[in-house]
């Protein structure tokens, strides 16, 4: 059963429709990536899930209930939003103490989560002196306080160094392996590809894709040759879907590397490289969101 259900969700801010009839579900036991260009409606969707923003229409359910119907919400859902923060004058421990007492979580959890995110040594320091990475860890500690079934994280890797990012990935994968539901939004696509199982992509507030990472695009064969034009004619004649992929290279769908290699051999065309692959998350993302201007390198192809 899906832990998170978003059904026909629409949010209108004045004349801007930030979320537009959006529906998707998030299952437990997996890490789901929530992707979209800036302004796609990701943060608004997360805020509606958490009861911070009122939807114009539609409904969002967490474990079958609206957020404000949950008896002890922070024990069901842990969240780190980009807009969550800590008072700079409070120590890390005091900050978590505030969250724990407000959420009726035992205070013994404070030390446990401090240890879990690696902030034990900095527990008595004022948050005002924390680096971005330490704040991000503190935010995660707050989200983990209630040992929740569902984690919603908005750009959780922001400010983390590579070691921190790897640590975060292990943490999230570990939580998912124990049956928790994890939804993360991020713009670091290569990082997301390493961390998530499922992907939800939205753009202009509408759903573009929801499914397993492997379903993002059909496999294709990329082939390079010195006689690219002749190869293209041969492959076209073979009825394959052939697309140019830069100078001296083709992208072929509906075929296997073996088949193309054999065809080229029969025709006596020398190949420089031949490889099967899936489109990268980045390519799929750009195709689905139609925003190549975000990444000029890909737009050139």
């Amino acid at each position: 059963m899906a832990e998170l259900v978003i059904r026909h969700l629409t949010k209108q801010f004045g004349r801007v429709r930030a979320v537009d009839d959006l529906s998707f579900e998030v299952a437990p036991g997996e890490v789901t990536g929530f992707l979209g260009p800036n302004g796609a409606g990701k943060t608004t969707t997360l805020r509606i899930l958490l009861g911070l923003v009122r939807p114009t229409s539609g409904e969002v359910l967490i474990a079958g209930q609206r957020y404000d119907q949950l008896a002890q919400p922070r024990r069901v859902v842990g969240a780190v939003l980009e807009s969550s923060g800590a008072h700079p004058g409070r120590t890390a421990r005091a900050h978590l103490h505030v969250l724990a007492t407000a959420s009726t979580v035992p205070l013994s959890r404070v030390d446990e989560v401090l240890d879990q995110v690696g902030l034990t040594r900095d527990a008595e320091r004022r948050v005002g002196g924390f680096s971005l990475g330490m704040r991000q860890r503190l935010g995660l500690a707050g989200a983990l306080l209630g040992d929740p079934e569902v984690l919603l994280l908005d750009e959780p890797a922001n400010g983390l160094d590579p070691e921190g990012v790897a640590w975060l990935r292990r943490l999230l994968r570990g939580l998912a392996a124990r049956g928790r539901t994890v939804l993360i939004s991020s713009h670091l696509l290569s990082e997301v590809a390493k961390t998530v199982d499922q992907i939800v992509i939205i753009s202009d507030g509408r759903l573009r894709f929801a499914g397993h990472l492997d379903e993002l695009g059909e496999p294709s064969v990329s082939v390079r040759s010195v006689e690219i034009e002749r190869l293209r004619t041969v492959l076209n004649a073979g009825g394959f879907d052939v697309r140019p992929a830069g100078e001296g290279a083709l992208d072929v769908r509906g075929s296997s590397a073996e088949e193309i290699g054999r065809l080229a051999s029969i025709e006596g065309i020398a190949l420089l490289s031949l490889a099967e692959g899936r489109p990268s998350l980045e390519d799929a993302f750009l195709r689905l969101t139609g925003s190549p201007e975000l990444l000029p390198r890909s737009a050139a192809n």
């Binding site: 805020r47 911070l52 008072h87 004058g89 409070r90 007492t101 407000a102 959420s103």
Partner: protein, 241 residues
């Protein structure tokens, strides 16, 4: 609800803001009383001790600022997200803040009244002027000052909840006290006595053309309640971005 009020008090204990505000309030209080002692009316003017003590109420402005911080500072430091995530029924958060901050406002008032009494007693001892501590006027001023602090803290909570931008909220509170109520009072004529500042001054037993003390206190309490209801209602509807 008790746990939520306790949570608000714990939040106040773990930051320096209340202490800075209290120290400012007490420092200015001593300064104000010293000013009256040096340049005020003739030392034997029977009104003088009352004017001195009344400073404990006038400086309730700092209790008001403390109250403004309750919600507006949570927006400023982005802690409001976690606060509302823990307690999605926002009216409960606002009520807990109103109770907690009114209590701390009363403590501000008690501290101020204590310091004002001490300073006034010291002045009377130095100048060798008999002070009638048991007089009605003295105690009405002291009690009025304490309640004024408590009510202003509550009013501040509502202002901060209505205007979650901390600078804007403090600016509006200052502008009202320094300019707006004065100008409005000129238009309203005799009705000006019913405005929030004037009713606070009546509660604080300040000399002047004001409502009776009890009426002033009730009017100010009425403002506090009305503002609190509006603040709770708008906080429930507001999107937190």
């Amino acid at each position: 609800m008790l746990a939520l009020i306790g949570n608000e008090l714990y939040k106040l204990r773990t930051i320096r803001t209340p202490w800075l505000l209290l120290i400012s309030q007490l420092g200015l209080l001593v300064l104000g009383i010293a000013g009256l002692a040096i340049h005020g009316a003739a030392p034997n003017d029977p009104l003088l001790p009352r004017e001195m003590l009344a400073h404990a109420g006038i400086l309730s402005f700092f209790a008001l600022i403390l109250g403004v911080n309750a919600v507006a500072a949570e927006y400023r430091h982005k802690t409001i997200t976690d606060t509302y995530l823990a307690v999605p029924r926002r009216s409960r958060v606002i009520v807990a803040k109103l109770v907690a901050y009114s209590g701390v406002g009363l403590l501000f008032g008690i501290a101020s009244a204590g310091v004002a009494l001490g300073a006034t007693i010291a002045w009377s001892a130095i100048k060798d002027i008999p002070l009638h501590l048991a007089s009605d006027d003295v105690w009405r001023t002291v009690v009025g000052a304490i309640v004024w602090n408590g009510l202003y803290a509550a009013v501040g909570v509502s202002i901060g909840a209505l205007l979650p931008n901390l600078a804007a909220a403090i600016g509006v509170a200052l502008a009202w006290i320094l300019i707006v109520e004065g100008l409005l009072g000129q238009v309203l004529g005799d009705f000006r006595r019913w405005l929030p500042m004037a009713s606070g001054q009546a509660l604080g037993n300040l000399p002047g053309d004001l409502l009776p003390q009890l009426t002033g206190g009730l009017v100010l309490a009425g403002y506090a309640v009305i503002l609190a209801i509006i603040a709770a209602a708008t906080s429930i509807r507001r999107d937190v971005n």
